[in-house]
Amino acid sequence: MAKILNIVESAYRATIEEQDDTILWFSHMLANAGADIAVLLRGNAVNYLSKGQEVGDLRFGDAGLGNPPRIAEDVAVLRSKKGVPIYYVLEDATQRGLERSSLIDTGEPVAQADLARFVSGYERVFHW
């Protein structure tokens, strides 16, 4: 089976309305279907590892969100329950002031200088 890498860069895209991130969700579903898949978070999507994310009680009129997105939890579950490796671009986190201590333990950093070698380990690379 081809090794698949989902590179997630478009972050917080409709996550309120979807109550999750659509590509993380898609990655879950691919893993459920037996895909050999990994996820690399880059750009603003490195913030998906941040422990400090919180979506409060958002309401429009009297209609509220049922289950606000818990993206860091979703990433952690993708790793712990589906066995999907999670990586992130180290410099993208550093540039955003995200220190290792502020991130959940799920992600493994990849240095920009190593990205070409890293990506070459996958046969199908999808950039979202």
Binding site: Y12, A14, D20, M29, A63, N67
Partner: protein, 134 residues
Amino acid sequence: MSTVTILTMDAPYESANSTTALRIVDAAIRKGHNVNVFAYEGAVSYSVTTQKPHQNPVKGTSVEEERHPNTKDWVAALLSAAQAKGVKLDWVRCGLCEDERGAFEQVPGTRRGSPADFVKQIASSDNVLVIPTK
């Protein structure tokens, strides 16, 4: 009380723009302002009544557990909120845009219109915010 017009263009479930537009509408109503909305292009799909909530097979949650409101529910809730507050929410959908998309079944209380209605909305507004698709 003032009147604000918001043109929004992104389809729902595609970006944070639609959420942002709805939040501004909600905030304006809560503060007692009249609001005009011109739903242009993909934004006509906010209020399509055939939207359905769904279960989440990733989390193993049912439709009931997921409690996932669709944007049509939010539009309807905003119309109710405006009525309760005693302010006007005039939600106009671009008619040609909904023809292109087959988006014919729409939340009652919204109305079909054209860019000419947006011109009228501008004329009656203290300020106008356009949230375009980028």
